[in-house]
Subunit: 320 residues, 6 copies
Amino acid sequence: MAHKFVNQIEPGETIDDIYVIRDPILRSTTRGDLYIAMFLSDRSGQLNGRMWQATETIYRTLPKPGFAHIQGRSELYQNNLQVIVNNISLVDSGQVHIEDFLAKTDKDTHQMFEEVRKIVGQIKNSQLKALVGEFLADADLMEKFCNVPGGVKLHHDYIGGLLEHTHSMLRVAVAILPLYKQVQADLVLAGIFLHDIGKTEELAYDMVFSYTDSGQLIGHVAKSLLMIDQKANALRAKGTKIDQTVQDALGHIILSHHGEYEFGSPKLPATAEAFMVYYIDDLDAKISQVTAAIDNEPSDSNWTAWKSALQTRLYRKRLE
Amino acid sequence: MAHKFVNQIEPGETIDDIYVIRDPILRSTTRGDLYIAMFLSDRSGQLNGRMWQATETIYRTLPKPGFAHIQGRSELYQNNLQVIVNNISLVDSGQVHIEDFLAKTDKDTHQMFEEVRKIVGQIKNSQLKALVGEFLADADLMEKFCNVPGGVKLHHDYIGGLLEHTHSMLRVAVAILPLYKQVQADLVLAGIFLHDIGKTEELAYDMVFSYTDSGQLIGHVAKSLLMIDQKANALRAKGTKIDQTVQDALGHIILSHHGEYEFGSPKLPATAEAFMVYYIDDLDAKISQVTAAIDNEPSDSNWTAWKSALQTRLYRKRLE
Amino acid sequence: MAHKFVNQIEPGETIDDIYVIRDPILRSTTRGDLYIAMFLSDRSGQLNGRMWQATETIYRTLPKPGFAHIQGRSELYQNNLQVIVNNISLVDSGQVHIEDFLAKTDKDTHQMFEEVRKIVGQIKNSQLKALVGEFLADADLMEKFCNVPGGVKLHHDYIGGLLEHTHSMLRVAVAILPLYKQVQADLVLAGIFLHDIGKTEELAYDMVFSYTDSGQLIGHVAKSLLMIDQKANALRAKGTKIDQTVQDALGHIILSHHGEYEFGSPKLPATAEAFMVYYIDDLDAKISQVTAAIDNEPSDSNWTAWKSALQTRLYRKRLE
Amino acid sequence: MAHKFVNQIEPGETIDDIYVIRDPILRSTTRGDLYIAMFLSDRSGQLNGRMWQATETIYRTLPKPGFAHIQGRSELYQNNLQVIVNNISLVDSGQVHIEDFLAKTDKDTHQMFEEVRKIVGQIKNSQLKALVGEFLADADLMEKFCNVPGGVKLHHDYIGGLLEHTHSMLRVAVAILPLYKQVQADLVLAGIFLHDIGKTEELAYDMVFSYTDSGQLIGHVAKSLLMIDQKANALRAKGTKIDQTVQDALGHIILSHHGEYEFGSPKLPATAEAFMVYYIDDLDAKISQVTAAIDNEPSDSNWTAWKSALQTRLYRKRLE
Amino acid sequence: MAHKFVNQIEPGETIDDIYVIRDPILRSTTRGDLYIAMFLSDRSGQLNGRMWQATETIYRTLPKPGFAHIQGRSELYQNNLQVIVNNISLVDSGQVHIEDFLAKTDKDTHQMFEEVRKIVGQIKNSQLKALVGEFLADADLMEKFCNVPGGVKLHHDYIGGLLEHTHSMLRVAVAILPLYKQVQADLVLAGIFLHDIGKTEELAYDMVFSYTDSGQLIGHVAKSLLMIDQKANALRAKGTKIDQTVQDALGHIILSHHGEYEFGSPKLPATAEAFMVYYIDDLDAKISQVTAAIDNEPSDSNWTAWKSALQTRLYRKRLE
Amino acid sequence: MAHKFVNQIEPGETIDDIYVIRDPILRSTTRGDLYIAMFLSDRSGQLNGRMWQATETIYRTLPKPGFAHIQGRSELYQNNLQVIVNNISLVDSGQVHIEDFLAKTDKDTHQMFEEVRKIVGQIKNSQLKALVGEFLADADLMEKFCNVPGGVKLHHDYIGGLLEHTHSMLRVAVAILPLYKQVQADLVLAGIFLHDIGKTEELAYDMVFSYTDSGQLIGHVAKSLLMIDQKANALRAKGTKIDQTVQDALGHIILSHHGEYEFGSPKLPATAEAFMVYYIDDLDAKISQVTAAIDNEPSDSNWTAWKSALQTRLYRKRLE
């Protein structure tokens, strides 16, 4: 039976399906009765859930967060839809259709990763080659790299999104680097490969997409820089020379690739390579965001709904 | 004998060379003597010139502007260098080394234009093809297109600069369009070809680079749109159908290609094609600007001087 | 019987009235049943409408958009009011009370237009006179000019709004031009008359107020400039001389009359005439917006609700 | 003999003329010799002056600031022109041509003030009438009002400038108030009359235009509000009723008449009257600023120099 | 019986409790029946109330605003909760639990005020001492000072909030002034004591927190300045000398203590004392706002909800 | 003999003193003669120097940069003062009065450092204590920490400036932390101690103050974060537990302590501790900057010159 997505639930429906439980809290009413407040979510969004006549015992069994089979019914409360939960039983993640909870790229991640590996394999500078190799050799990290979404909301917000975005950026770089001979290709390729690597630590994506605590406090820009420093130090400990100037040139690309202070870059681009990574990143993100918005527009109108991140509606009509 | 550039003149030198005279004015001193104030310029900059004991007859012979052989001497006046002009004789533009006055692209304009023609020749949509063809068939306009600078100051500021910039952008588009299959290639190619075509009317470049009156009042963005409208109307008058929707999709790219209101775009990009032209334009302009600044830095320092347009100094050191 | 405005419908009401149908889409439920989603609107706003058990035949008969007699009932769905449509029958526009759908100026449009004609008749410069005359002689355009709203939302948002706003601005100009003798009156009067003429193409106002596709892509500022160019070219084709300098001085007023880049002006005012048109436009729009908000405030409070476009609440109390 | 303006002095000239001495300081060289540093100024600008072999006795005689007959010679020092002062003798202000030091309106201030008095005489509201009358009855203040400049730099920067600006604004208001019947004329007229009255305390204009200490610390906006409060309290002390609501409606116009926070308005306009005063103020200031810049441009060019306050050059060519 | 807070009312409840009635309006339905629209509020928020079958007699008896016993029932109308009022009876403010309507500081206001009095008692400058004393001696004003909230929404938004905030700021100043010996302590202490004194006139707090008309038109910054001027004038009238320079130095602190134009400061800080008051104000406000948000977060999450005033979520986890 | 500071050199002087040579370049004139261009600098600024008739041999001996005894004379060239260098002889840094080249704090650095050590010694949390201890135990780093300036230009721009600023901030924190009991003192103290520690790598200060290449590319904010990560990893390698949550809470303070994106903070403050460090940093910097500007104003005016970083002039008059 098809999963009932939370954005499709209407008031007065019977609920009998699996959802992710998040942030359960045990509270007491003004009369002193215990109840549990929680969020129920899947890939389409989240709803408030409330279990009356709860006990501390039940509360203790709840995952924070986790998958659970929910039985109850939907209702309106203060103009918001909520679910009155009658029964909760935990569900093993092996039993769920994970795609109901986490959107996923429709591209082949294995093939994309092989192409990424091949493109950065073209790097000739021995120190950058060693640094990139140290990342490629970290199997745990590379598995995360292949799975983490590109973001929580704006673009490439699905499993494999970071890989898809990085892969696409690398292909753009390979296509245009021959046209700009003064730009140092090795730095651009290494810079793209690692520009958002810190998202592997910034984002959580096991049940729903969210930020880790560490991710919210530090951010992927600084985290990427830290990871490069750690890999460089690991190489140095093994006797491989990594000059500070090489590390800084790469680090500068990471720190400036949002292009403007107001977008969280602590440094503005100061090299041709940093400018190139910034523009390729922005180009690939915006084209992806715009084409997704146009494809997913539910109406038949020539225009999408207003997109506040772009401060415009988007025009959907194509040339004939 | 090599031309003495105005930015190389020191106080107390004898001047005996050809310069462009601009904005001559006949004035009288507080004692009632007539004198002529003017600017003397070449590609390196401009200086104030002053001819004492002038007459209205001399003033009437002066070009506004034009080339002239200047004899006199340099001096400091109110802390600014100026040239006291003793003698002026007009010079025919055929006699001057035009490259002393107008910087020029070091690429082959004929070859670049042929490549531009070839790339836009790939456009398949019959209406866009007709529209682009109408521009290509306008020999006077195309000659201007091959010669006009890309700007007065920031980037591609030399004869042939617009062609070089447009040519480079088209090559980038050809390289990356296969990677973004949802983006309509015909619109991107036509949009790039025409994105700054209005600069042919906005900029003057016969003796020095400057804005025309019409260019300052209207700007190249609106002028490009007007030129497209005029060519479309000319085609319609000849019986070729140009749908308003096609013209608008192209016009939108022109009007939004600066990307933000504050950079003079009266519309924000609302199609994937408009975003692509905007990013390719900005990428090509910035890479050109950055590499030129790094190449032309006079010092041996690892950093250029502060670049206020980029809000940073630029790092010049390359990987070894 | 009085029309039931959509912003007065409560849940659970029986609906039996004429509305504008917009953007109907034929969709299928998860069970495979067909239904039609649409918007129902009048001058007070719009609601979602849904017709279950629909067929493709019904769908094909629906106007996109158009007037229709709707029978059904209202209900809450996901916290939003929607109308379940049981029956739809098309209605000829001649049968509807158009004022239920489109607000209209309460001034006499004929009289206002005659005054506009009289005021711009004072223009002495022969070229501007010819240009303005070419617009006045375009009967279709002048009919639109008398009917198009001044905008979709902020001010003069009713049939005849552009005429009312232009008329009021011209009267202000006539009143203050004698006080600023250095300002060229002819340019100011022609500039005001044509400053928003492009709204005749930017806005649609046959059933509800909205933007045309062309209007959203190009905008009324650029459209006004294009229309002036077309009229000037038409005059030239008829042998009437229109200097480029005259056209540019007028065009500059059009392009700069929003006063700042962030409000969509691609040029900043660079003449006294451009500044005067900008301030008269802004003054008339704001006074109209403020007095309308104060008059229409539903409460008896001394203050209106927060007006986000003005970043303040408005004070309604008058001196005694 | 004509005054030698400081912006006309060249290096190496003999100086023998009257200037304003400002900010004299007694200092000692590294060798221990005393000298006096000072500024020498007139309406055209200021220069550094230096008197070597000075004594404390001489220093004590110097005005801070004041008029003085200066004898010496000009020279370059660290690339700046300065005057070596050999002799200083004080000059009574009665002996100087004050117009060499302070620019003055070329309009008739007596006549303008009479018109101002006549226009505000139309105010019907008894409390506003009383308040305005209290200002008119303050002869010392009205004399300052007739003489203070409208500003130090941007517009109406000459003796009588505030009067000229206020007079012009009142005439605009009289011309357009009949067109906006909902706007309360009494508040607009009183608001304009008093909008910058605090400049009488903010600016000093006895020898050169400058800010008073109090003016720089508090500003004319807040000072105008304080002066209205003081006059209202004086009236109340005399038994004339001034309602707080009347005073607040007027005070709000004062506090919001710069229109935006970034221009020093602590409040945004929240009444039609406040918007009208704001726009009339800005219109009159900008038209005055633009026409002055166009008239005073020294070159014959169609364009003025870049005006950073307006972020553009101004176009000087008029229709024929 | 505990008060039923308006933010806890669900649809379909019977209402029988005391609320504040605000802005009652007598209106007629389309059928001509009279009804009364009003707001019902307490410290938790407000709801629409509607009394059908009303009469002008009932309307006249209603307080505008005031406490009333309301009997009726709650329902959803156009997706908003409203209360259908069947019966209204006025209630004397002596009968209500005022804390149900107005939040209050949990600190001891008497003790805080004594500490404030003691700290400003350290001021040595005789004129500032006199000025501060004049405020302290105004018993009505001091009572308001002890009760007015610090604001309507952002921080210290409860009875006694301004006192608590001022008290805390003074304690910070006392702690750090010894570390900055060049900063004039007297000015800082007087500046803090009076920095928001105008809030006593800007805010109303008898039944709910709101702005007075005068407060919205003039604002607490300008009102504080006016109050200082009035007290200074009162002292002068009594023969106590208050130099304009002292008053201006203090006034400057008031006018610049929001630190930036965009936050409503008409002046930027220009003295060390003004900077110190600005930073202590901002520090105390932000720490209070952040710790309150962290304490009041209803969920158990490590992060609060998004705080738009701070443009971030807040991290709640403490070190162990 | 006293050092002749470069900002005191006039045209035509004989030069015979020690300066820092920076960025020497060997160039050839248009006639093919070799010359050396260089900068000559001391703590007061820098000048262009030029040695004619140079040889490659001389060029090779020059330090880049370094101290040198310069003999020559000063002259004006293109309106700029430059020094014609006749003779250069290298000077050992031991022979120079370093205070002629680098300004230094007038406080006792040893005593300040001991107080810093004592204050951070109050930290109770064992992990933060260990982390801070690891920094204190790094003698080389602590020596740099005691000597590096606080910045190149704005505030604390002298040897020992970072220590003085950090020391002052810690004293402020100690004074006010007891007043904010909910704020975690350990995090604030550790955060202040390390907030700018990366400046030890960002700034060079051996001969003149400047940025290192690494400093300009990466910046002190990111560098401070990297140094904390390295020390934490070093501790972990030694078996000391440092939780990621502790490191992140501290790292967040570092990354957000500039308070706004536009000032180079990649994160906005999200904890009370981060807000406190941000405000103490800004308070201490601004008070230092303002009092220094007031103290160093060369004129006797009540106002300093315009300070563009503060967008105001500063008022220098104190209460009597």
